[in-house]
Amino acid sequence: MTTYIIRRLLYTIPIVFGVLLLTFVLFSLVGGDISIEIAGKNATPETINEIREEYGLNKPLFLSWDSQFINHFKSALTFDFGRARDREPVIDKIKRGAGPSLALMVPMFLGEVIISISIALIIAFVRGSKWDILAVVICVAGMSVPYLSFILFGQYFLAYKWGLFPVFFSPDLIIPQYVVLPVLIGIITGLGGNVRFYRTVMLDEMRSDYVRTAFAKGLGTGRVLFKHVLKNAMIPIITQVVMAIPFLFLGSLLLERFFGIPGLGYLMIEAIGSRDYFIINAMTYISAILFVIFNVITDICYAWVDPRVSFE
């Protein structure tokens, strides 16, 4: 197993290198010179040259030890991403945004997974009944309503009209207070798609012989569903769940924006809008690392939950 993990981790090196190369090529060659944009209006050519020097844009792209790519590579390896265009160190922005983003995304994610798997198990059990049909209709309807509508509706009724939650972030509130409503909205909006997916997974299992055998032997519904069916359905669930974890780091743009949560989703979108390549680079790189790490974890989990999968 150790050999397998080491081998998989070694595979991540070229992947991460590829990501670095790709982002560099995209931003440096395709994106063009950002110095004019940084200089803004009324900038003199001298100012633009100084900006090029300050950001190292006047250095050769590849063929030098002091080239832009080598510096890009070095900064990634040392996690020293330099300063964003507002001159704040990029790493400080990421550190500050990670907490609020995770505070929003982790409970939302856990809530979504637990609730949707539970509902999926139940409606898979009553498959074909009016409850199953009703659940599927609600899921499809939920998936059809735009995300923004849930946010506007939730903020207007639950927060503003009925006063159950704060409308927006306030310095006087602690994180749990101002994150509850966006988390609830996030869970509700995610339920439609997730319940449908997990229901399909569960249905595949429910038709298996061992389920019939378990019921024939007199096992209770709960035991059959949550012990046997759930365990056997773990492979697709793990793929769905573990591979979603790295994206939690990226936060949620709309929820963060509407509820004033200073997270990373908004940071990333803003950086794209203002072409702050320093932030985009850092976020892409960290996401890539998280993605490959969780990919390895997914593979390990497969073997852990399914004895048929081995590390050979």
Binding site: A43, A103, P107, Q155, V167, S170, L173, I174, I175, R275
Partner: protein
């Protein structure tokens, strides 16, 4: 439900490493609650050009001069200066006395953490800092070729390898400080707008050199100024809290204003010591809906009126709706010094040499319809480019007909334009500075109007950096844009047609008119007088006659304020206004009770 909330709360605490609840504000503490509709970029005055950063930083930094809070027309009065400048007869030397007893806020950058006294040298340092090319200040253009020796200082900084290598003790002939309380500025040529442009602007605010040296590039997050407030908390992207600066010398609320100010209650606090509020809090809310809800809940003191909520707040007669009156909300409106337009690139081979074409575009746009559709009828038609708020605004400009809507005339001009072009005109490209809903709707409106008279139009929606990059490299054909004046002098607008300021300068149209240039060079060194005003109007007409743009609208700002929020008199050019604001705490508390009855 409770169990779920409690469980989730525990989880959030675990995940976020929450620092626990901040203590609620003392009910007797006077706190101003403001909203910022975008994040601020930084709090370093020399490196600042965006309005939102200026709104916050102006409470912590002061300049030599400021605008009188109440008087209209706008009048400049001393702030850190001890009186108005003494100007030599040739208008080339300004001697400015500095107030004594002004101290920087306490900060660990000073010995023993105690703020030191402000000296004339601090102003010299602030200006040299802007001139330092390694600092990359966006404010350099205001000093370019103005002060004797300053351009040479900038040249010298080019030879320095790093920002830290620049020797600020290097003499600049035009920036002298004969003693610690006197600043002498020597100009290359008269610059009558200098006080308004440079010394009533936050960019020249003194910032302690000790702070710059101590914090280095982190200075943007560590403002050390002399203003009434100092930074308490800056949770970037979320909120900013300023607290009273105990070192602030105090300033008296003005005792005179314009007619009607006393009746409006703006002189109730005359002669009282400012600032009134203990804290100023800005919450950053980039969506209008939550900002509007917070205002209605009484959690912010003032609000703009979002387009979608306009009918909820304002009647067709431009008055408050009964629902707003019930909440004791007041409406404040004022003309914003801004002009929005469709600019034409005069270097474009199709547009540049075809005046009938440019005129045809201008006459094809129904400006009134645009204002009704996009601004709820709030804005005013831009008959020229000088905003109504300026002294030199020509009251007869409407009669000249440059902004009239005349589709028939436009069609005739289009035919004439095609003759000049020598055939059917190609598709005209209009660049929009954004792909958001407003930009799309605005673009589609213009497209439809122009198509109605026979134009072929292609809209290009760009993100702001792309748009700016293309504008600066003169590669846009037609562009939607706007211009906002920073001083009450139309020169701010006229300069954008001066040929020496072609893009990437302010002349984005790349307009060239030698006659206009001659007049511009004449008026830019003239003091304000009736003759200059007459020349300004003449110059405006010269530009309008050439149609380098189709000017569309001047913005009219609408703001709603709660009745507890005192001394909220709109000001078009000043940002450091929190010191004047006062809150009637009893009325604020009463609003909570009122809300119960409304609900």
């Amino acid at each position: 439900m409770k169990f779920v909330i409690v469980s989730l709360s525990v989880l959030f605490l675990l995940v976020a490493g929450c620092d626990g609840s901040r203590s609620a504000n003392d009910p007797n503490e006077m706190v101003l609650y403001h909203v910022l509709y975008t994040k601020i970029k930084g709090l370093d005055p020399g490196d600042m050009r965006d309005v939102y950063s200026m709104m916050v930083a102006s409470q912590m930094f002061e300049q030599l001069y400021q605008y009188h809070f109440l008087k209209r027309p706008y009048e400049i009065v001393p702030l850190l200066a001890d009186g108005m400048p003494q100007v030599s007869d040739d208008m080339l030397t300004y001697t400015i006395k500095i107030k004594r007893g002004v101290y920087f806020q306490d900060d660990k950058c000073f010995p023993n953490g105690k703020g030191r006294e402000l000296k004339a040298g601090d102003f010299v340092y602030a200006i040299k800092r802007i001139a330092n090319i390694k600092y990359l200040s966006p404010n350099w253009s205001m000093f370019d070729n103005k002060i004797i020796g300053l351009d040479e200082f900038r040249e010298y900084t080019k030879s320095c390898k790093k920002l830290e290598d620049v020797d600020f003790s290097r003499a600049v002939e035009g920036l002298q400080r004969p003693d610690d309380y006197t600043l002498v500025i020597k100009l290359k040529k008269p610059w009558p707008q200098m006080v308004a442009t440079a010394f009533a602007d936050i960019s020249t605010s003194p910032i302690a050199k000790e702070a710059v040296d101590f914090y280095g590039k982190g200075i943007t997050g560590h403002p050390v100024g002399t203003g009434p407030y100092k930074l308490g908390v800056w949770n970037r992207g979320s909120y900013i809290e300023l607290v009273r600066n105990p070192n602030f010398r105090g300033e008296l609320y003005p005792s005179e204003g314009e007619e009607g100010d006393a009746e409006a209650g703006y002189l109730d606090d005359a002669g009282k010591m400012m600032p009134f509020a203990d804290k100023v809090v800005w919450t950053i809310i980039e969506e209008y809906q939550p900002g509007w809800f917070l205002f209605l809940q009484g959690k912010t003191d003032a609000s703009v009126i979002p387009k979608d909520n306009f009918d909820e707040a304002i009647t067709q007669n431009s008055e408050l709706t009964p629902a707003m009156k019930q909440r004791n909300v007041h409406l404040k409106t004022f003309d914003d010094p801004s002009t929005f337009f469709l600019g034409f690139n005069m270097l474009d081979p199709v547009l540049g040499k075809n005046k009938p074409l440019r005129k045809a575009i201008s006459l094809a746009i129904d400006r009134q319809k645009f204002i009704e559709l996009f601004t709820n009828g709030r804005d005013k038609i831009a008959y020229g480019f000088v905003p109504l708020i300026m002294d030199s605004y020509d009251p007869n400009i409407k009669d000249k007909g440059y902004a009239r809507y005349d589709p028939n005339e436009s069609r005739k001009l289009l035919a004439e334009a095609e003759k000049i072009y020598g055939g059917k005109l190609p598709v005209l490209k209009i660049a929009m500075p954004g792909a958001d809903t407003f930009s799309r709707q605005y673009g589609q409106f213009i497209e439809r109007q122009l198509k109605e008279v026979g134009f072929q139009i292609e809209l290009e929606f760009m993100d702001w950096p792309t748009y700016l990059g293309k504008l600066n490299t003169r590669s846009l054909q037609i562009f939607a844009s706007g211009w906002s004046g920073s001083i009450p002098d139309a020169q701010d607008f006229l300069q954008s047609f001066y040929s020496k300021y072609w893009a990437p300068g302010s002349n984005s149209y790349n307009y060239l008119n030698p006659e206009f240039d001659k007049l511009y060079e004449k008026v830019e060194v003239m003091q304000d007088c009736p003759e200059r005003r007459k020349l300004y109007r003449q110059m405006e007409l010269m530009v309008l006659e050439d149609y380098p743009a189709a000017f569309i609208n001047h913005r009219v700002a609408y703001a709603l304020v709660h009745d507890w929020y005192k001394n909220y008199k709109p000001h078009a050019f000043a940002y450091g206004l929190s010191k004047y604001r006062r809150v009637d705490l009893a009325k604020r508390a009463a609003y909570k009770e009122l809300l119960k009855t409304i609900k």
